[in-house]
Chain length 206, copies 2
DNA sequence: CTCCATACTAAGCGGTTGCTTAGGTCTAAG
DNA sequence: CTTAGACCTAAGCAACCGCTTAGTATGGAG
């Protein structure tokens, strides 16, 4: 089973909810710049130039550079949560495998957004961080529930549910750090590889 | 088997090779600041203040802020490589377990240094980056050799050696991102957990 | 045509950045 | 005491930062 392009059909519209179009272009430009250079090394002039506008145009749709980051982070977190929980499988083994496959390959395919999501949390204001942390808590809970369900069904052999959850999430998240589009593996292949490795980690009955 | 404090005896002197003492204090202050705020968000005034000196003192021992980062990154990479390859076990299963235990717990115990090592590569000059990338190549090769040795000895069941190597390294490295000293697990416990999970991933004969 | 709201830019302000310069302070040898 | 040299600081420079202000172009309603 491989990741189909259809699995990401909804995600091609990651930013589709952002209007007006100029605000969306600015967000996408900011996400690209933050991903490559990092939030603090990116200037508002960089973002504006990438969006093909003047430096002042940033402040028509956003109050500050940090608010730009917050919107990227919030939409990115919400999208990755829906990818993780959007799997249709009901059998615990197949369900965890499908969720890991989707979540890991999302971090590869959308590594630009994923890097901002995972590595720029400390640049958010306390209020914005709190909102994003709540989404992260729900992501962790979703994985923990899938692991617990498999243990309860007798399909997994896991001595430490919290520890296994931590490792599964960590493994998938770190894809955003090392993935390169020109690299050896496609996002779909990474998803398949990681689904297999995770089933081994949780001792899934084969 | 737990990680003993003796395992890190040599590492308590991570910066011992840096002289004179004032240059060492400056390096340690920079590592702490880069780790918390990130390289670009850290000012040379921050570093100097943390070291208890004036802003100009930075430039007595280092040519630039980037050179400070380079020294931290180089020493950090070299130390983590020696932690990984310094294990004494010869049996493939015990050897990989010991290496993962040491490598993962190092990323927790020395997460301050490890964060600079893993997340500030893009701030290095091309020349300095090349030197560090060579050390990273040797780290990856060390893990790959351990996995290959186990496969060759018939002790591991790994369909994709490169993929498993990638996942093992990725898992350990990401500890630096999520670890918190006030958290639920000690570095030694993380090492033990990860050694077990990695042996499951490579299908080690039990 | 006028009127007005929206979307944008040119110019620039106050503050901060990495880094430099000129000079002061200490220790130890002569 | 003088001198040399290592080590450090006070002050500040040019460049750049996030963000603001004042004003322009555009297009639809009356």
């Amino acid at each position: 089973m491989t990741t189909t392009s259809g699995e990401f059909a909804l995600l091609d519209e990651t930013w589709s909810s952002v209007t007006p179009p100029a605000a969306r272009r600015m967000l996408i430009a900011a996400a690209a710049a933050f991903s490559v250079r990092g939030y603090h090394a990116t200037t508002t002039r960089d973002i504006a130039a990438q969006a093909g506008m003047s430096p002042a145009a940033v402040y028509i749709h956003y109050r500050s550079k940090e608010e730009l980051l917050f919107h990227i982070s919030r939409i990115g977190h919400a999208t990755s949560l829906s990818v993780l929980t959007g799997v249709s499988e009901v059998d615990p083994v197949a369900r965890l495998a499908a969720a890991v496959r989707a979540f890991a390959s999302w971090h590869a395919e959308y590594h630009t957004t994923a890097r901002v999501v995972q590595y720029e949390l400390s640049a958010l204001t306390p209020e914005h961080l709190a909102e994003v942390v709540e989404l992260r808590r729900r992501i962790e809970a979703a994985v923990r529930d899938m692991v617990s369900d498999g243990v309860r069904a007798g399909a997994f052999d896991v001595p430490d549910v919290r520890g296994a959850t931590l490792a599964v999430l960590s493994l998938c998240i770190d894809v955003a750090r090392w993935y390169q589009p020109a690299g050896r593996r496609t996002p779909a292949e990474i998803g398949d590889l990681y689904a297999d490795l995770v089933l081994r980690m949780v001792g899934a009955t084969t």
